[in-house]
């Protein structure tokens, strides 16, 4: 009888023990505390949860015991899970689940808490259980407000609610396949000309046995093939090279890691792509506000250059393959046959370039100029565009001359166009006392120039040397010249026309 009871007792204990062993080990990570302005880590709540779960009979690893592993794995942002971290947790603690939590709100007075916890399966990364709780003082309103809730009692309720439907996670996995996670991928250039060497460095972290093959799957002149990766400067970095294919296009690069022997696993992870580009960037140079006349680009006092790269229609990676790595501008004076500016800069094209030709440090005299603009795309393809411009910064100055005669004086006013027609001329001539003695006014349709002769009475004007004029002259490009109190040039009658023309007589009439 005793023997029988002993057997029953033995089996009961054995069964309970086995059952406990198959209970999964749960690793509790410190909780992410989003309640403070700068993100923090909370140990207090997960430690309490660990104790409660442990009391309930679950096998738990409290957060403080996890910290050394996280430090070893250099994972300060341990909320960002990856398969390597999951596998390392499994390996170190023989744990099959990780309990993660984030606290949104945590305040003691008045008590309030918002928290989410989730249980992640280390073999699949899937969330197998989760619970969110959100309590504030409104949740504890009692009849006539007789019973007040404090922080401690609220926390007890939080723990109770959280663990009320906590599932019994059973140990189901025997082994986790080895993993690899990519930390960094560096290409010498993402954009290359055909036949150039592609250099690729991959920094990765492994968990599990050493792989039997590490390489990349690429496409080049030979075709699609596997190229092994070789160890680089440190134990986590690997390097490889291959020739870019002849055909333009974008090419994917896939990391291939194989574990042979008992595992027989191959993992393929897409790590990026590179572009083969043999088309020079399509550059367009616009001179803002310029007018085109008789095949010439006319520019007034401000030279504004807008360089733009337009995507190639034959390319299927418009805007990417045509990224600019460097640009250069050259400005030549055609009149003096000299280079007046040469600048080169790395990086993207500027939105616009402005040169104040009339004022400031770099005054440009009017005349013919040649602008050469050069660009290099990210693959090293080059293109150059030239543009000839005619810079006109000022309308012409009028020639106002008075010829001193014996009986009459003859005034001759002449304004000739300066490359381009005029649109407005307003000129007034005054004597010493400020009395207007003559006036010329013309505006509207563009005109080439003005030539006018006026006969002045000797009796009206005592001294020719005191005559002066004011003028406003505007050309077709809207260049404006305002002249004030400029003296009229006095010459002997013999130097100019001897008598008034018929036209002058009509004007006077």
């Amino acid at each position: 009888m005793i023997k029988k009871w002993l057997k029953i007792l033995f089996f009961s204990i054995f069964f309970i023990l086995i059952f406990k062993i198959v209970y999964a080990q749960i690793v509790i990570f410190p909780f992410e505390d989003l309640s403070s302005s700068d993100y923090g880590i909370n140990f207090e709540i997960p430690e309490k949860i660990a104790k409660k779960l442990s009391k309930e009979g679950f096998q738990v690893v409290p957060p403080k015991e996890v910290i050394p592993l996280l430090i070893k794995l250099r994972k300060p942002n341990f909320f960002q899970l990856d398969f390597t971290l999951l596998r390392e947790v499994y390996k170190k603690f023989n744990a099959q689940y990780i309990l993660l939590g984030s606290i949104g709100n945590l305040q003691k007075e008045p008590p309030a808490i918002s928290m989410v916890v989730k249980l992640v399966d280390v073999s699949t990364g899937k969330i197998v259980w989760g619970k969110s709780v959100s309590f504030s003082s409104e949740n504890f309103i009692s009849f006539l407000g007789l019973k007040k809730t404090d922080y401690e009692s609220m926390m007890n309720k939080v723990h109770k609610t959280l663990l009320s439907n906590f599932k019994d996670p059973l140990a189901t996995i025997k082994k986790i396949a080895p993993t690899v996670d990519i930390q960094e991928v560096v290409f010498n250039s993402r954009y290359l000309q055909p036949g150039k060497t592609v250099e690729c460095i991959v920094r990765m972290v492994f968990s599990g046995p050493k792989p039997s093959f590490i390489g990349v799957e690429v496409e080049d002149n030979i075709g699609k093939r596997l190229i092994p990766l070789n160890k680089y400067t440190n134990k986590r970095s690997y390097i490889t090279f291959w020739k870019a294919p002849k055909k333009e296009g974008r090419y994917p690069v896939v990391l291939v890691v194989t574990w042979g022997n008992k595992w027989k696993i191959t993992k393929r992870i897409f790590i990026g792509r590179y572009y083969v580009d043999n088309t020079p960037p399509n550059l367009n140079l616009v001179i803002r506000g310029a007018k085109k006349k008789n095949g010439k680009v006319l520019v007034k006092d401000v030279l504004e250059i807008i360089p733009k790269v337009v995507g190639n229609s034959n390319s299927n990676f418009i805007g990417r393959g045509n990224g600019i790595s460097k640009w250069q501008i050259e400005i030549y004076s055609k009149d003096k046959n000299t280079l007046i500016l040469k600048e080169a800069y790395p990086g993207e094209l500027p939105k616009f370039l402005t040169w104040y030709a009339k004022g400031g440090m770099n005054i440009l005299p009017p005349g013919d100029y040649l602008i050469k603009f050069k660009v290099w795309d990210l693959a090293g393809n080059q293109n150059e565009v030239e543009k000839e411009i005619l810079l006109i910064t000022d309308p012409p100055t009028p020639q106002v001359v008075v010829y001193d005669g014996k009986e009459k004086n003859l005034m001759e006013i002449e304004i000739n166009k300066n490359f381009i027609p005029l649109v407005r001329v307003y000129l007034e001539i005054f004597n010493k006392n400020g009395k207007k003695i003559a006036e010329i006014k013309k505006e509207g349709a563009p005109f080439e120039g003005i030539k006018k002769e006026i006969i002045l009475d000797k009796n009206d004007i005592k001294s020719l040397n005191t005559l002066y004029y004011n003028a406003i002259i505007e050309d077709e490009l809207k260049n404006k010249k305002i002249l004030r109190r400029l003296p009229v040039i006095v010459k002997k009658a013999e130097e100019g026309p001897m008598r008034a023309t018929f036209k002058t007589w009509i004007d006077e009439f």
Partner: protein
């Protein structure tokens, strides 16, 4: 003799107990579970209430998982981004999540959908709180947007009688909104027919 029989009984009992655990019955690879598996990405937060975006993501994840969906932790999904895509996603999450990337994530991780969204407004004035959200679902077969919805809730949205149910805390409001409204709508979109 009796001892041997008991051993056998024990072993049978042990295996049976393992086979009938609830957790195992959830993992099914049937062709019918076509729209069961997915992930929830961190919401874009256009407000000053930092941290709310992670909380919405986590509450949604937990609630969907409670409703029988199979969810992958979003950080694991993001570990399959290339380093370039990670930077791009950090700089501009709206553009970075291209159809091509969604398709790739779907094929690698077996995801059928990705949920994301944007917090448009979140404010607290005294006891009054208000939140405005956009939630979207993208399928991974072609990376297309299949559903989106706009939610606007405030302190009184879940009020019942007197001041019962009134919310004066943004996090409680988010919790209620997800549990009472968003999950209901998502269940209509993410039809998960699984054989158990």
């Amino acid at each position: 003799m009796n001892f041997k029989i008991n051993w056998k009984i024990f072993l049978i009992l042990f295996f049976l107990s393992s086979c009938f655990s609830k957790r195992i019955s959830l993992i099914i690879n049937s062709p019918n579970n076509s729209f069961c598996e997915g992930t929830v990405f961190t919401f874009i937060n256009n407000t000053q209430k930092i941290g709310l975006e992670f909380l919405i993501r986590d509450v949604l994840t937990v609630e969907l998982s409670k409703n029988g969906y199979i969810l992958k932790d979003p950080s694991i999904v993001k570990s399959f981004f290339t380093p370039e895509e990670k930077i791009h996603y950090f700089e501009n999450p709206e553009i970075a999540l291209s159809p091509e990337l969604i398709q790739r994530l779907g094929s690698i991780l077996g995801l059928k959908w990705i949920i994301g969204g944007k917090i448009l407004k979140a404010e607290r004035i005294g006891d009054y709180v208000r939140i405005e959200l956009l939630v979207w679902v993208k399928e991974t077969k072609k990376g297309r947007l299949i559903w989106y919805s706009y939610y606007k809730r405030d302190s009184d949205s879940y009020r019942t009688i007197l001041h019962f149910g009134k919310t004066s805390d943004l996090y409680s409001l988010v919790d209620k909104m997800v549990k009472k409204d968003i999950i209901k709508d998502l269940k209509k979109v993410l039809i998960c027919e699984r054989k158990s």
